[in-house]
Symmetry: C2
């Protein structure tokens, strides 16, 4: 079965986010007020082939832990959707 996966990699709470801070500091100069708490992370999308949803989720979790994140400073949030192999939708 094919699954469509989105992994959101975000910095853990308390970890400094200079990129987010720079965006937040710049916004008032560009006319955007009322924006706060800007945090920048990564969004990684891919398809994975696995026997069932549990197997797919286990493989994605392992992948996040070992390769896609630095677990010391980053968290991963996984969303997983079965893709209809007939091509009728996803």
């Amino acid at each position: 079965m094919l699954f469509s996966v989105q992994v959101e990699v975000s910095l853990r709470e308390g970890v400094a986010d200079p990129q987010g801070a720079t965006i937040e500091r710049s916004l008032p100069h560009l006319g955007f007020d009322g924006v706060r708490g800007v945090r920048v992370g990564k969004s990684i999308r891919f398809d994975i082939d696995a026997t069932d949803e549990a197997a797919a989720r286990a493989e994605v979790d392992d992948l996040c832990q070992r390769f896609l994140t630095n677990p010391v400073i980053e968290d991963a949030t996984v969303s997983l959707t079965a893709v209809d192999a007939s091509g009728a939708g996803r």
Copy 2:
């Protein structure tokens, strides 16, 4: 009203994604088979203060267009959730 916003910035279809391609090429060497179509984007989260949801969405769309994305090569997907100002949840 306060809204919690997530903006996913992804490369448009057809735009080369060397970072995604590098991840995809590396995975079989690390024991992960069956992963394909890796695309890497950004996930930007922030809170925005606006009079109502329509105003918040308009401001976020403008922000994406002018500042958070390069509209020539990137698309933005916005998710917006009202934050309960009483602090009882979000």
